[in-house]
C-alpha cells in the first residue's frame, strides 16, 4: 500500500469499528484531492462521510462540537497551509476544552488530518509544515508519520486517543512511499520516537519526509566519513519523546535536527533547548539544526530551500570534526 491507501484503510477501519465516527471536510465525499477518502462515502454512507462548505474555521469548530456531543470526529483540512483560519478553534478551543471546564467537557474524540510539507512544486501555500505553531499549544497532540505502515497505526491511535490530535501527512509520500502494510487493524503508540538506525557517533533527528533524507545521510556518512549515525524518527511532535533523544545523545555526544519548516522557532529549537539542558555535559559539539530558511517557501528555488542530504551531510561533517 502507498501512504494514501494506508490512510484510507485506517479511516475505513475507524468507521467500521466505531458507529459514531464521521469524516468531513472539503471534497472528501468523492474521495478527496489526495484520494485518502476514496470509497468511504459509498461504503459508510452520506451521513458519515460528507462535504462541508469551504471554511476551515467552520470545519474545525464543527468537529469540536461533534466530538463534544459524542461523535468520533475526523476532520480533513485540504492542505496544512490552510489550517491557519482554524487556529483559533484548534488552539483557543479544542486544546483548552478539557482544562477550562475542569474536565466537565472535552473534545478528545476529534482528529484533524492535513497534507503537509514539500511536494516539489508547491511553493508558499502547498508546501508548509506548520507543526511548530501547534507544538506551542498545550492540550493538543501533533503527529507526523514517515510512511504507510506508521501512518495506518498512528492515525488509528490518534482517532482513538482521548485528546484532540493533529495528523500531518507528508503529501509527497502519498504515492511515492510504498510498504507492505499489514491488512489487519493495529495501532502504534504516540509520543514514542523510533530509533531506525543505531549508531555511536552522532544522533540525527527528523520526522515525516525528512526521515528518508536523513537515512541517505546516514549512508553517506558511513561511506565517506566512516561515521556511525543513529537515526531517530521523532514521530510525535507533541508530547515529544525527550527521553529517547536524550538517551541517544548521551551515547553519541552529538545532535543534528533537520526539518523543512523555517529555522527560527521551528520545532528543532525546542529539541535543541531541551537537549542542551538535559545533556549539557555529554555534548561534544553544539546542537546543529538544518532546516528551511527563514523565508516563505519559494517555488522555483525549492531545491535550494530544502534541508537536503548535502546540507545535512555537511553539518554531520562539521559536528564530528568540531
Amino acid at each position: 500500500m502507498n501512504l494514501f491507501q494506508a490512510i484510507n484503510n485506517s479511516l475505513d477501519l475507524a468507521l467500521s469499528s466505531d458507529p459514531t465516527a464521521i469524516i468531513f471536510g472539503e471534497d472528501v465525499a468523492f474521495g478527496g484531492v489526495f484520494r485518502c477518502t476514496v470509497g468511504l462515502q459509498e461504503k459508510h454512507g452520506k451521513s458519515r462521510v460528507f462535504n462541508t462548505p469551504l471554511c476551515e474555521q467552520g470545519i474545525a469548530g464543527f468537529g469540536i462540537g461533534a466530538a463534544t456531543a459524542g461523535a468520533t470526529a475526523i476532520a480533513e483540512i485540504q492542505f496544512a497551509d490552510y489550517i491557519l483560519p482554524a487556529f483559533d478553534q484548534i488552539c483557543n478551543e479544542a486544546a483548552k476544552y478539557r482544562y477550562r471546564s475542569g474536565g466537565l467537557y472535552d473534545c478528545g474524540s476529534l482528529t484533524i488530518r492535513a497534507p503537509c510539507s514539500a511536494v516539489g512544486h508547491g511553493a508558499l501555500y502547498h508546501s508548509q509544515s506548520p507543526e511548530a505553531f501547534f507544538a506551542h499549544c498545550p492540550g493538543l497532540k501533533v503527529v507526523v508519520p514517515r510512511g504507510p505502515i506508521k501512518a495506518k497505526g498512528l492515525l488509528l491511535s490518534c482517532i482513538r486517543d482521548k485528546n484532540p490530535c493533529l495528523f500531518f501527512e507528508p503529501k509527497i509520500l502519498y504515492r511515492s512511499a510504498v510498504e507492505q502494510v499489514p491488512v489487519k487493524e493495529y495501532t502504534m503508540p504516540l509520543s514514542k520516537a523510533d530509533i531506525l538506525v543505531e549508531g555511536d557517533d552522532i544522533t540525527l533527528v527528523g520526522w515525516g519526509t525528512q526521515v528518508h533524507v536523513l537515512r541517505e545521510v546516514c549512508q553517506l556518512a558511513k561511506d565517506q566519513l566512516n561515521v556511525s549515525c543513529e537515526l531517530i524518527d521523532l514521530v510525535t511532535i507533541l508530547p515529544w519523546d525527550k527521553e529517547t533523544i536524550a538517551q541517544s545523545v548521551k551515547k553519541t555526544g552529538r545532535l543534528l535536527i533537520a526539518h523543512e519548516a523555517p529555522l527560527t522557532s521551528g520545532f528543532g529549537a525546542e529539541i535543541a533547548a531541551s537537549i542542551q539542558h538535559d545533556c549539557f555535559l555529554n555534548l561534544e559539539a553544539p546542537i546543529e539544526r538544518v532546516t528551511g530558511f527563514d523565508t516563505p517557501f519559494p517555488h522555483m528555488f525549492e531545491p535550494f530551500y530544502m534541508p537536503d542530504k548535502w546540507r545535512c551531510f555537511e553539518a554531520v561533517k562539521k559536528l564530528v570534526n568540531y
Binding site: I22, T52, Q57, F62, A66, S101, L104, K162
Partner: protein, 433 residues
C-alpha cells in the same frame, strides 16, 4: 410529460426511456431543454430579467418584531398567549428576579475586590428565561457569556454560581477560568469560553451528532449581535443549513457590543436579515417579552427537530448594565437612554404586570420574595467567600486526558520550589488536597 431534469440527460436517453411518448410531446421536451425559460446555472434558482436593477436594501422595512404583550405587559392578541400555568409563570418571574438580585450582589462584590470580574444580565432576563423554559432540559446549550438565566432556570444553584465566581475548591471548573465562565455537565450547558463566536460552529457540530444519534434533542446556541460579525458566525449559519442540523441560533441583539452600537456593527437588517440568505427559517422577536421569546423558541424547537433544520431567532433587547465590571458605559451612552429601558420596557416589570392582571401576584408576595431572595443570595455569597481555593497543583491537571511526563516534570519542579519558598506563596488560601 417528463420532468425537465430528465430532459437534461440528453435526447437519446430521453427517447430510450419513454417509448410511449409521441412526437408532439418529444418536441415539447426539446423546446424546454433548449429554451431559456429559466437560468440553468447549478448555483442559482430564479428567473431571468432584462432590467438592470440593483436591490436597494435601504428601501425595505426590516423583518417585523414578534410580540405577545405590549410594553406594559398586556397581551395584545389573546391567541398568542401561551397560557402557561400560574406555577410556571411565577417560576419564570422568580428566576428573573433572583438573577437580577444575584447580579447586583456579585457586581458589588467585584467593586469591593472580593471577586476579580463580573458581568450582569440587566435587561436581558427575558431572553434567558423565555427561551430556556421552552427547551428540553437535555437540549445542549452553547452560550456566549450573558446567558446565566438559562443556567439558573435549569437549576444551577446560587452556590454553584458563586463558587465559580470565587474560583473556590467547589467550583466545577476547578478555578481555571474568570468569573461568569460557567459550565455544567448535568444541566447540559457547555462551559463558557471568552473568544466570541467560537461556540457557534461547535453548536452545529453538536447538533449534527445529535441528529445522527437520533436522540430527539436539539442544540441551542446563544450569541450577541456583535459576535454575529465574527467569521465563526457565518461559518456556523452556513454549515447548519447545508448539513441540516437541528440547532436554534438565538441572537441577543442588545444594541451594544461593549461601546459599539449596533449601527456600527452592521449595515443590513440586523441578524434576522441574514437568515434567509443562508436558507434558514428566521424570526425576529421582542426579547423583553418573555412570552414572545417562549413561543418563538418552542416553535423553533419543534421545526428544528421535526424537519431537521436550523432556525434563527433574533431577540431584540437592551443591555441595561455595563458590558462588565471593566466598563463604564456612561462614557458612550446617556443615562437617559438607559433609564428609558429600565423604566419603560423591562422584561421583569412586563411579566409582573401580567401576573398582577391575572391576580397571581401582589405587593405582599413581592415584598416577601424580595427579602427571601436577597437573603438566599447573601448567605450563598458568604458561604462561597469562606471556602478555600483549589489545591494549586490543579494548574497541571486536565491539560490532557492523562498527564504526560513533561507536565509531571514541571509539576515536580514547582513542588520543590514552593516547598523552598513557601512563605512567598499564598498557600493558606489554597486547599491542601
Amino acid at each position: 410529460m417528463l420532468p425537465i431534469r430528465l430532459a437534461c440527460y440528453g435526447l437519446r436517453s430521453v427517447a430510450a426511456n419513454c417509448k410511449r411518448i409521441n412526437i408532439g410531446a418529444l418536441s415539447q421536451i426539446t423546446r424546454k431543454f433548449s429554451s431559456d425559460e429559466r437560468p440553468q446555472f447549478p448555483g442559482s434558482r430564479s428567473q431571468w430579467t432584462e432590467k438592470l436593477e440593483f436591490i436597494r436594501p435601504d428601501l425595505y422595512d426590516g423583518i417585523p418584531v414578534y410580540r405577545v404583550m405590549d410594553r406594559k405587559g398586556k397581551v395584545i392578541d389573546p391567541s398568542q398567549d401561551p397560557q402557561l400555568s400560574q406555577e410556571m409563570v411565577i417560576k419564570m418571574y422568580k428566576c428573573m428576579t433572583q438573577l437580577n438580585t444575584m447580579d447586583r450582589i456579585l457586581y458589588e462584590s467585584q467593586r469591593q475586590g472580593r471577586i476579580s470580574f463580573y458581568m450582569t444580565n440587566y435587561g436581558e432576563e427575558g431572553t434567558h428565561i423565555g427561551s430556556a423554559a421552552a427547551l428540553d432540559p437535555k437540549d445542549l446549550i452553547f452560550g456566549q457569556y450573558r446567558e446565566a438565566g438559562t443556567l439558573m432556570w435549569r437549576g444551577f444553584t446560587l452556590d454553584q454560581f458563586m463558587n465559580q465566581c470565587y474560583g473556590n475548591m467547589e467550583d466545577g471548573g476547578k478555578g481555571k477560568q474568570m468569573p461568569v465562565h460557567y459550565g455544567s455537565k448535568d444541566l447540559n450547558f457547555v462551559t463558557i469560553s471568552s473568544p466570541l463566536g467560537t461556540q457557534m460552529p461547535q453548536a452545529v457540530g453538536a447538533a449534527y451528532s445529535y441528529k445522527r444519534a437520533q436522540n430527539g434533542l436539539c442544540v441551542m446556541c446563544y450569541f450577541g449581535e456583535g459576535t454575529s460579525s465574527e467569521g465563526d458566525a457565518h461559518a456556523a449559519l452556513n454549515f447548519s443549513a447545508t448539513l441540516d442540523c437541528p440547532v436554534i441560533f438565538f441572537c441577543r441583539n442588545n444594541g451594544y457590543a461593549i461601546s459599539t452600537p449596533s449601527k456600527e456593527q452592521y449595515r443590513g437588517d440586523g441578524i434576522a436579515g441574514r437568515g434567509p440568505a443562508y436558507g434558514m427559517l428566521t424570526i425576529r422577536v421582542d426579547g423583553n417579552d418573555v412570552f414572545a421569546v417562549y413561543n418563538a423558541t418552542a416553535k423553533a424547537r419543534q421545526v428544528a427537530l421535526n424537519e431537521m433544520r436550523p432556525v434563527l431567532i433574533e431577540a431584540m433587547t437592551y443591555r441595561i448594565g455595563h458590558h462588565s465590571t471593566s466598563d463604564d458605559s456612561t462614557a458612550y451612552r446617556s443615562v437617559d437612554e438607559v433609564r428609558y429601558w429600565d423604566e419603560r420596557d423591562h422584561p421583569i416589570s412586563r411579566l409582573r404586570n401580567y401576573m398582577l392582571s391575572k391576580g397571581w401576584w401582589g405587593d405582599v408576595q413581592e415584598k416577601e420574595w424580595k427579602e427571601n431572595c436577597k437573603r438566599q443570595v447573601m448567605t450563598a455569597f458568604a458561604r462561597a467567600e469562606k471556602k478555600l481555593k483549589p489545591n494549586w497543583k490543579e494548574i497541571f491537571t486536565d491539560v490532557y486526558h492523562e498527564m504526560p511526563s513533561h507536565i509531571t516534570e514541571q509539576l515536580k519542579q514547582m513542588e520543590e520550589h514552593v516547598q523552598k519558598y513557601a512563605e512567598h506563596y499564598p498557600l493558606k488560601n489554597f486547599s491542601k488536597d
